[in-house]
Assembly symmetry: C2
């Protein structure tokens, strides 16, 4: 990593690896669905930290050459009391020359948010973190010191789940005063937009600080901000609107693969320079071995990641967006 | 704890202890401000888990008889790699016959949210958790199994911080279709409300499942839901509006004390039966010793908690709301 800002390092990674994929590292143990193979559990003598670490290491070994950024979801490590495995995993990803986005969706204010930021960037040494912006700029301010130092913050905009519209799709007005209810209001163009667009506009504002914006010229048309947003692959039309609102902010696009998003669905999130988006998949990569030999889970993950990269790059090429 | 539901147990605690206070357990180490006393750090030989556990234990010992519920904020335990101390603290609070709300503001979907719920209720054994509802009902569904089993979920509505209005105060419309912009629209009464009211309405809907609502008759006018909401003490007028929207849902009211909220400011959150709200303070209790002898920090916390309880109960009595 040679640049100060996360956004610039991410662009370097994308260009070097010719890939905009992001692999979620979500260890699952037990149950009937996707899970860490039995032979690993046995070798680790059911020590969860050891099993998760071995599993992650092999996934990383088989995918890191085409993966600019990995995304461990902290919930799984908490569930299994395996924060040591998370730490080792992050160190290893850095050793293998990739970036780490810790998916934690933190949201708090003041010293509490500072404590979260310290845990994420100083204990775990992640390069970026996901944040929920419902609390407004007080929820972002405690991260600013880290953002200025180069760390990335990715704020939820339009999430990939079916019911995300219950709140995020409400039409809202950017006006400060209460109009009497039950009356006619005149809505100027651009003032009545859905909540997710309001969130995108806040992100744009937060991310516009020149200290947070990368070295545009050496990479593409313009620099990208260290503050980005989450937009589900399951909502391609909304993605188009959001892309227009925040051209200089990276999008993390989850919902590819297991959640139903395809390479076609993510194209609206990518700018003309082929940048501005990373597409994440977890289950469909981590547990690609399921119909195969479980001892081959690393190789299966590698193949699934390569297939995902190829499908996305073909779509980028077709649409005239540079596929590196 | 004799009832199935968190809400009923909380009411029992409130009646038994004649108190609606909630003490935040936010361990802080080092720095120039409020922090764990030096003598504890020395006794613990700087082992953070030991120091935090000793600190919390003494705060709990001096306050549990008048405190229905404690609220550890998980960020601080993460920051200091002290999740063991958190676990011990929660066990100890239960042993001392109080409840635990784990302040974690979790927000995710599907198996990830299930992993969070499992960590919170099965590893840490909290009685309730704070959640951010930005993702809609998909963010609540994974908690439903635990709610039906009795666990509480408290969703952010109007947070105590100054900038909470940037997003939460936007006027929004509960209509599904896009009106053309740049035109006049007629808004029926009640349809154009601020985002925080929309969130309160979602909470009301989620919490109305009869399995989640407590045994009204034995306690007050009506039963309370196991799903509640967070409303900052710093916004008493908004609190009044929210109280009307969600009469049967408990409110967690933070922002008392260090953040500026007073006993007068929280009165709008309490129902006529004296129930429906718990008022939380952290710094002003945990670090009440600051101007005194640091070896007396437990007793100082006890006095500060008693002063807070008294101030609130006087205000409740004055306003004709039962002070137990």
């Amino acid at each position: 990593m040679y640049h100060k800002l996360f956004s610039d390092n991410l662009i370097d990674q994308i260009k070097q690896k010719k890939s905009i994929i992001c692999i979620g590292l979500d260890p699952r143990i037990g149950g009937s669905g996707a899970k860490i193979p039995q032979n690993i559990m046995e070798r680790a003598k059911n020590n969860y930290n050891d099993a998760i670490w071995e599993f992650n290491k092999e996934i990383i070994d088989h995918t890191c050459e085409i993966t600019p950024i990995f995304k461990p979801q902290i919930a799984f490590y908490e569930q299994y009391n395996a924060l040591d495995a998370l730490k080792k995993t992050i160190d290893y990803i850095h050793k293998k020359n990739s970036l780490v986005l810790l998916d934690a969706k933190r949201n708090d204010i003041g010293s509490t948010a500072e404590a979260y930021a310290s845990a994420i960037f100083e204990n775990f040494k992640a390069d970026a973190v996901t944040v929920n912006g419902y609390l407004g700029s007080d929820g972002i301010t405690p991260f600013l010191r880290y953002i200025a130092e180069g760390k990335g913050v990715i704020v939820l905009i339009k999430t990939s789940n079916k019911s995300s519209g219950e709140f995020q799709d409400l039409f809202s007005l950017s006006i400060p005063n209460i109009p009497p209810s039950g009356i006619e209001i005149t809505v100027e163009k651009g003032l009545l937009v859905r909540n997710y667009i309001q969130m995108a506009r806040l992100i744009k504002e937060w991310g516009a600080n020149p200290n947070f914006v990368g070295e545009g010229n050496s990479f593409g048309k313009f620099g990208y901000s260290n503050i980005g947003g989450v937009v589900g692959a399951t909502f391609p039309e909304q993605m188009k609107l959001i892309r227009k609102e925040i051209p200089q902010n990276f999008m993390l696009i989850p919902g590819y693969g297991a959640q139903g998003g395809t390479a076609k669905d993510i194209i609206n999130g990518v700018n003309e320079d082929g940048l501005g988006a990373i597409i994440s998949a977890s289950r469909s990569i981590d547990y690609a071995y399921q119909k195969l030999d479980e001892t081959e889970f690393g190789a299966a993950a590698g193949k699934a990641a390569e297939a995902m990269r190829k499908a996305i790059n073909q779509e980028l090429e077709k649409s005239g967006k540079i596929a590196y």
